[in-house]
């Protein structure tokens, strides 16, 4: 019987902090097992060995912020059977999408002494705005459990189980008392997608939205509640404008609260 070919896995990075691909190396207990089941064909953070495409599964970290990267992601797509975006940069433009709300020329002049050398786009945009994406893993960073779930699902040819409900569901499951109801602490949990395991409330901190908007988030209602708790409108704008600022629901919510 022929030995089935191991699927080829590739990891590509665009504008990002490297944290989401590090999540793969942080799966210390599973890393060698995963490496046994797939051929790691292109993963520069971990290996010099680079095999040419096509790849069966490509993980893409980071957002598109340069014309060169806008071209490169099209090449990556063309050699990838399944393209999975990992993390807030790839799925929503990341923290660097704050430029989308400002003047990028002025940003460049602030940071760089010789602005004319800087080659950058006006915006930071998610991968799906440039090419077809087969699966998105949210989070800043992604959840290791969701990353392994997605890898396992692809290896076994099944649909991954990635819930789109809010952090509140995970909080209830974890048995954490509601910070907002019990303690009056502003929390983005009701409008944020689950996946982190409701981490912040367990550390007595309001959710700050790493996983981006949940399905059908009622941001207007949450905004009213936050204001009743004494949060100013500028602080509400900042709260919706962090790592998933360019995700449509959070973008609309931040704009709606602008003075």
């Amino acid at each position: 019987m022929a030995v089935p070919r191991r699927p080829k896995l590739a990891v590509f990075k665009f504008a990002s902090c490297d944290g989401c691909q590090l999540s793969l190396l942080d799966c210390e207990d599973e890393l060698l097992a995963v490496a046994g089941r797939v051929e790691i064909a292109n993963f520069l953070e971990a290996s010099r060995a680079v095999a040419k495409g096509p790849y069966d599964m490509t993980l893409v970290e980071g957002s598109i912020t340069t014309a060169h990267d806008a071209e490169r992601i099209r090449e990556v797509r063309s050699v990838s059977r399944l393209l999975v975006t990992i993390g807030a940069c790839a799925t929503a433009g990341g923290i660097q999408a704050l430029r989308n709300f400002g003047d990028v020329r002025e940003f460049i002049a602030t940071v760089y002494a010789t602005p004319e050398y800087i080659d950058t786009l006006e915006t930071s945009t998610p991968i799906a705005q440039h090419v077809k994406v087969d699966l998105e893993l949210r989070g800043c960073p992604v959840s290791k459990a969701q990353l392994l779930e997605a890898l396992g699902a692809v290896l076994h040819g099944r649909k991954p189980n990635l819930p789109t409900y809010s952090v509140c569901v995970e909080c209830k499951r974890r048995g954490t008392p509601c910070l907002m109801v019990a303690g009056g602490t502003p929390c983005l949990g009701p409008v944020t997608q689950s996946g982190c395991g409701a981490l912040c409330p367990a550390y007595t901190r309001g959710c700050y939205g790493c996983f981006g908007p949940a399905e059908s988030p009622n941001t207007a209602s949450l905004g009213r509640l936050w204001q009743q708790l004494g949060v100013s409108r500028p602080d509400l704008v900042r709260a919706f404008r962090t790592f998933n600022a360019h995700a449509p629901a959070f973008q609309a919510a931040s704009q709606a609260h602008e003075p």
Binding site: K13, F14, A15, S16, C17, D18, G19, L22, S23, L25, D26, E28, D29, L31, L32, A35, I40, F43, L44, E45, A46, S47, R48, A49, V50, T65, T66, D69, G94, I95, Q96, L98, R99, G102, V104, E106, F107, I108, T110, V111, Y112, A113, T114, Y117, I118, D119, T120, S124, C140, P141, L199, C200, A202, Y203, T204, R205, Y208, D235, R238, T242
Partner: protein, 433 residues
């Protein structure tokens, strides 16, 4: 190779096993090095620009996103800078807890670099994963050590990448004695594993190569430095961190569009494990000192290839230090200090696994950030890396080109460069050709 055969170039378009995206270009003309460029094509993300107008309390979480490999370093430097601006000082158990969190990051980052990124160079593998096929037990030891670092960060900070529990003034939540206690057993194993790591890496073959570096690191009156101390060097520097910008500047060099950090009036310098170790050997624990000596290290090490041994010594120190904190942990009544916004300037400088990370902020009376400056370790080391390449290549021109290219690549990996960090400030880009 040019038709005359006299000019050739070594090029590594994409450096592997470094954090972030960069390349290396060395040009040889008539048997001499004529150009060296550590190229960074990681796109800029403009943190210093969009931090303006954010609340002081947001800086630790936002700047953590500069680097997924050393988020704790960003959180620590940001928190210390803000506390400096607000006129408060975190002491006692909260200070200890920060140190514990930092130990976790050092253990994780050093184990990652030693086992998965750096050791493959010495043993002749493409990656740690390839190495595992022949050395499964070794790689598993490295992964378990790395995991214990991550467990520390997860327990104290909530998660290993971009921890959630750190805030200006302390933590959102502090662990109980019962929560920390089980870590002690893991840390005792980690300490032994780190000691074995020192012995293992000491046996590697190191090229005969040294540089007369100016080492720059923090120095604290009692401890091996992490969060606090004065900035010192082996060539006469001894300043408070608030004096950083008076003594260092970033300068433009003709051969690239990069600005490189230099010490004013002195030139390039080195930060990171070699510098910390060389300036603070006497602050290591007796066991770490003994392990270093047995590994053949002097109290000062100038061979960058031996940084893998020094990193292992530091991992050993971090395991011992973490164990000390876990065993004596006495949680404070409150997880954080009360803070009142005020106008002012604050400086923070802490020892990221790769070296000093400097933050400076100016706040307005409402506590909103008006100016931000962040200088990460890799941008400070960049000029030194290039200098080492200038000196390293000439004596090795007899090597075949692929071999020499690999050696140059290895030289760069000695510094564990974190290009994702560096880019956003390196003020360096390539012309878009």
């Amino acid at each position: 190779m040019s038709p005359s055969g006299r000019t050739k170039s070594l090029s590594v378009p994409a450096l592997a096993r470094v954090e972030g995206e960069g390349g290396l270009y060395v040009k040889l003309k008539h048997g001499a090095v004529s150009e060296v460029r550590l190229q960074i094509y990681e796109p800029p993300r403009f943190f210093e620009a969009f931090l303006r107008g954010r609340r002081f309390s947001e800086a630790p979480d936002i700047t953590a996103r500069i680097c997924g490999i050393c988020p704790v370093a960003y959180q620590m430097s940001a928190a210390h800078a803000m506390e400096d601006a607000l006129g408060v000082k975190v002491e006692g158990p909260l200070r200890e807890l920060r140190r514990l969190l930092y130990c976790g990051e050092w253990i994780e980052s050093h184990a990652l670099h030693v086992y998965l990124l750096h050791a493959p160079d010495f043993l002749g593998y493409e990656s740690g994963i390839h190495m595992a096929r022949d050395h499964a037990e070794l790689v598993q030891r490295g992964l378990r050590l790395k995991k214990i670092g991550n467990q520390l960060m997860t327990l104290v900070g909530g998660r290993e990448i971009h921890p959630v529990s750190v805030c200006v003034g302390g933590f959102y939540r502090v662990p109980s004695r019962e929560e920390l206690r089980p870590l002690a057993e893991s840390l005792r194993w980690a300490r032994d594993a780190a000691l074995d790591t020192v012995r293992w890496t000491a046996g590697f073959e190191f090229p005969d190569f040294e540089s007369d570096y100016e080492f720059v690191a923090l120095r604290h009156e009692r401890e091996y430095p992490m969060n606090e101390g004065r900035l010192v060097s082996n060539k006469g520097l001894d300043i408070a961190i608030s004096e950083y910008t008076e003594h260092f500047r970033e300068e433009q060099v003709p051969h690239s569009n990069a600005l490189h950090s230099v010490r004013k009036g002195h030139g390039c310098y080195l930060v990171g494990p070699l510098a910390r170790y060389g300036l603070n050997f006497d602050r290591l624990t007796p066991l770490a000192q003994q392990a270093a000596r047995e590994a053949g290290l002097q109290p000062v090490c100038r061979n960058p290839f031996q940084s893998i041994v020094v990193r292992s010594v530091e991992a050993l120190y971090a395991c011992e230090e973490a164990l000390r904190i876990v065993e004596s942990w006495d949680p404070p009544a409150r997880p954080a200090l009360e803070l009142t916004p005020r106008e002012g300037v604050g400086h923070g400088c802490t020892e990221a696994p790769r070296g000093i990370l400097y933050h400076r902020y100016r706040l307005d009376s409402e506590g909103l950030i008006r100016e931000a400056t962040i200088i990460p370790p890799t941008s400070q080391n960049q000029k030194t890396i290039e200098n080492d390449l200038w000196r390293f290549v000439p004596g090795r021109l007899e090597l075949a080109q692929p071999e020499l290219t690999l050696r140059c690549e290895q030289l760069v990996r000695n510094y564990d460069p974190c290009i994702s960090c560096a880019t956003h400030f390196l003020k360096l880009t390539l012309d878009s050709q």
